[in-house]
């Protein structure tokens, strides 16, 4: 493939985050290509979630920039970045407990269709909103539970709703923070299928501990260790990389080699 022809949708340039004396993100230069299925892996405490928080604007960086489709977005508020098409999910479910999945999606879709400040129509009066909600409910297999309170539905379904909300924001780039974390084995399949079925035009950056999912899903993998990028490559390259093996097998290994 011609390297120049690949369009970069999301890029970080020298992203740095220090908490006091601790460097959580160490000059990270990451590029996510258009339509990519890019995985970000690394041991616990490698700074994966911090990196997501920096990209989405929840945390201000100490230095460095975030670019979305070539435009700098470092100065934008989190909600403004979402409007530009950078959307995330959360490792720990962040849902609207008093609403039903349908209400939640209707709210997000309305907001997305710029009806969020509408105060005279009722929610879901617009047929465009209803159609999109039905699509999303089906895609994420939530149709059965669409009318139950979110706090009452099974954990696996809530995990699906977590992703459905993000997709309802019509992202250009979707950041998935451990989508299968804590999901019991019986409900895993369903979730993996849904992740695989995400629309092709949406670029995905996946943060995951589950190596099966990563190697099945990703076409490119970045390994993050101690806040810095250790290496990046195709799944085959990463699978055979000695340093990556060392990191995952234990630090004593690295010390002996290094």
């Amino acid at each position: 493939m011609d390297v120049v022809a690949i369009m970069i949708v999301l890029e970080t340039q020298g992203l740095l985050k220090q908490f006091g004396g601790i460097t959580a993100t160490d000059h990270v230069n990451l590029k996510v290509a258009q339509g990519a299925r890019h995985a970000l892996i690394g041991p616990n405490g490698a700074g994966k979630t911090t990196l997501i928080n920096l990209m989405t604007g929840v945390l201000p960086p100490t230095a460095g920039q975030v670019l979305l489709e070539g435009v700098e977005i470092s100065q934008l508020e989190p909600h403004q970045r979402v409007k530009k098409g950078l959307v995330r999910t959360f490792q720990i479910n962040q849902l609207f407990d008093s609403m039903t999945p349908l209400e939640t999606l209707a709210m997000v879709v309305s907001q997305q269709m710029k009806l969020g400040h509408q105060c005279w129509q009722s929610l879901g009066q617009s047929s465009k909103v209803v159609e999109r909600c039905q699509e999303l409910l089906e895609l994420f297999r939530l149709t059965q539970v669409h009318n139950q309170r979110t706090s009452q539905i099974p954990y696996g379904k809530r995990r699906l709703l977590e992703m459905a909300i993000a997709l309802a924001c019509e992202p250009r780039v979707l950041l998935l923070d451990e989508p299968v974390a804590g999901v019991p084995a019986g409900e895993r399949e369903e979730l993996l299928h849904t992740v695989a079925a995400l629309p092709q035009q949406v670029s995905v950056l996946l943060i995951e501990h589950d190596m099966d999912l990563v190697f099945e899903f990703a076409d490119r993998i970045t390994v993050l260790v101690n806040g810095a990028i250790l290496t990046e490559g195709t799944p085959q390259e990463i699978a055979h990389d000695e340093r990556v093996k060392a990191v995952y097998l234990g630090h004593s290994e690295v010390l002996r080699h290094g």
């Binding site: 997305q112 105060c119 129509q121």
Partner: protein, 281 residues
């Protein structure tokens, strides 16, 4: 009596928007009630005696006050909001006390003469016109608010209350949403204050009192927070209880209200209203 109930119900509706729908804890909601009352009374005295115009004027001025106060409640936790709202009511109380050339100070603003409603219906001693007036405004506001909470905008406000972090992550401008609700609610509270001043022809310092803010919160707790009918039902129940108990023991009625509250909160509204479920496990 009906007039009074309609006014406190409107006031409770306003607090329900703030507390029940937006999740902002306020212990100084009387600030808006009082500001609306004085605005309406001053408007009638110095500018025009027409009640509807006065009502609009009071709602407009309280909205402005609400917009200013909104800046103070966007930051901080529940406790800081509690203190800031309480402080705001105290500041206004003291201002109304001090500016006696304008407000009549501790004597209250007297001699407010209202014109007839719609140029036709005089406010009389029987209070029929006032009760009808207040009830109409209450119903109109209730209709409007019910529509509003079921709209996409209302849904985004509930989303902010449920989970601020996620609301931000789906592209909602959290602070703008909270400010909108706060301004809308403050104008409703201002309307309640205006009705109070217009139907009694009087505005006094006690409209700003902490009791008012506390009572309206009790009404909401009795009726149910985050449920529009809750404010109205709570206001009616509270006023009725007040009247009945005060009729029996005029001096100790707060004891019984207190006891009722403790039982209500400990047992739960559901169970209290359904005695037949008491002995089921």
């Amino acid at each position: 009596m009906v007039n009074e109930m309609a006014i406190v119900a409107l006031f409770a509706l306003s607090l329900d928007l703030v507390l029940g729908y937006a999740g902002i804890v306020s212990l100084g909601h009387a600030a808006f009630l009082g500001f609306g009352a004085y605005s309406a009374a001053l408007f009638a005295k110095h500018i025009m005696p027409d009640p509807l115009l006065g009502l609009c004027f009071a709602m407009a001025t309280t909205s402005c006050l609400g917009a200013m106060c909104a800046l103070t409640i966007l930051r901080g936790s529940d406790l800081t909001r509690l203190m800031v709202t309480l402080g705001m009511a105290l500041i206004l109380l003291e201002l109304a006390n001090k500016l006696d050339w304008l407000t009549g100070g501790s004597d209250g603003l007297q001699g407010v003469l209202m014109g007839p409603l719609l140029g036709r219906f005089e406010f009389d001693l029987m209070g029929q016109a006032s009760a009808t007036y207040s009830l109409s405004i209450l119903f109109a506001s209730f209709f409007f608010v019910r529509h509003w909470v079921n709209s996409p905008l209302g849904a985004t406000v509930k989303a902010v209350r449920d989970n601020r972090l996620r609301a931000m992550a789906v592209g909602i401008n959290v602070n703008a949403r909270l400010a909108v609700v706060y301004v809308a609610a403050s104008s409703l509270a201002g309307a309640a204050g205006a009705l109070m001043a217009q139907t009694t022809g009087f505005a006094s310092l006690d409209v700003f009192a902490l009791d008012r803010s506390a009572d309206v919160m009790l009404m909401l707790v009795i009726g149910g927070v985050g449920w529009l009918y809750g404010g109205v039902l709570g206001a009616v129940a509270f006023k009725l209880m007040h009247d009945v108990i005060a009729g029996i023991t005029p001096q100790y009625w707060t004891f019984w209200i207190g006891l009722f509250l403790v039982v209500l909160v400990l047992v739960g509204r559901e169970r209290l209203l359904k005695p037949w479920t008491w002995w089921r496990s």
